[in-house]
Symmetry: C2
Subunit: 244 residues, 2 copies
């Protein structure tokens, strides 16, 4: 059985929050997470179509924070780039495109191994947080491409719903609310809990500890139980104890 003692992940709901610039509200969390031993971050831009533009945007922000940034799409051998990475930053966009490309480039097992076995820190935002979990079954994105599986990096044994929003009681729209969508997922047998991370919120995972950070909190949906609201600072380590 794998030990997760070295695992470190910062799973952020969204890179953007109303009233803030790109990654601005979580700058301190990212710097605290990476610390001063990290010199360079390996960026994974696959969730967006224009990888060059996305890498330039991420590079500017990480250089601002004091880190160098390479983008995995700039390497002729992405697997080698992952093998020598000091830290990962997987950006948001379309979750299906991101996961399919990770499979196409044979990076799923490599990234997982680096995080779980080598203790390489993993930062995800939005789609990047979705692929950090056991599967992308709870993404909000449109299925624009067909990945070979919905199984993902499985750094944690539960699902995350990013950009989580409670229902708007004044809405006249008849599409499902986010909660209804998650409840549909839990109609499927043996589905794990879903942590609905509001924009402005993130989960810090270190070994077998998980703590909610940020300002906005999260709602946890567990199959067959009432959903539970958690505030920033909440200890969610129990979510890591499920067998995955």
């Amino acid at each position: 059985m794998a030990t997760y003692a070295k695992r470190r992940a910062l799973l952020i709901s969204s890179s953007n929050l109303h009233g803030f610039g790109y990654l601005e509200y979580c700058t301190k969390h990212i710097k605290d997470f990476l610390g001063s031993n990290t010199e360079k971050v390996l960026f994974v831009p696959y969730a967006l179509h224009d990888r060059d533009a996305y890498a330039a945007k991420a590079r500017a922000k990480f250089e601002d924070m004091g880190y160098k940034l390479d983008s995995v799409h700039e390497f002729s051998n992405p697997v080698e780039a992952v093998k020598s990475a000091q830290a990962f930053f997987v950006g948001g966009g379309n979750t299906f495109r991101l996961l399919k490309t990770l499979y196409d480039e044979n990076l799923i097992q490599e990234i997982r191994k680096r995080v779980v076995e080598d203790g390489i820190p993993y930062i995800g935002t939005s789609a990047g947080s979705n692929v950090g979990t056991c599967s992308i079954n709870t993404t909000n994105d449109m299925p624009i491409v067909y990945p070979p599986s919905f199984n993902a990096l499985n750094l944690v044994p539960f699902n995350i719903n990013v950009h989580y929003v409670d229902a708007d009681p004044t809405s006249t729209h008849k599409g499902e609310t986010r909660e209804q969508r998650i409840l549909e997922y839990h109609e499927v047998d043996n589905t794990p809990p879903v942590l609905g991370l509001r924009e402005g919120c993130m989960l810090l995972v270190e070994g077998d500890k998980a703590v909610l950070q940020g300002e906005t909190g999260a709602r946890l949906f567990t199959r067959g139980e009432d959903s539970v609201q958690y505030s920033p600072g909440a200890d969610l380590s129990f979510l890591l104890k499920m067998t995955s």
Copy 2:
């Protein structure tokens, strides 16, 4: 090359519209479409978890309209039920669950054959309209189960986005707007047009003719072009001419 002379489909955005009961706003369209020669409709309830309850709800409404209704899940041999159906009604819910079950029950080719070759009328609402098109790549639903393909019944050679909504300019939410999601799809090579059907709107397909019905209109997204707004009554037959 297939001829589509017999094809008849009524692809409805949603069974519900604010201020109306179940299928109420489109009752007249359904009755006009089925006409007086149809005695009985075969219902496909696979998009929802509770098939018995869903069939009861659909049956009550169709009996109200003067039609008998069988639900395909009540047959020990769903393929045989499809082979003898006079009309199909495929209800909404979760598009991934619906499509996966259609594959699991070997109904994709059977339903397609009945509609295209035998002229059996097809009514879809929401997820039922999505699976009537070439693929489910533009569903809004959460990918709660993994279907063997995103390819669908391909009764029409383009995509539909049901429950289509324009962006709310006052929103502070940072998840993608519906338009942004469809534009992400069109970043993929060779993707067909996407017809965004607003709630209260439907597409009537008869042979090689397609007309927009209902009250609310639709927005058409074509790869590499500006999107175009269409009003009820618009002739969209050109969408059927694309090679599929």
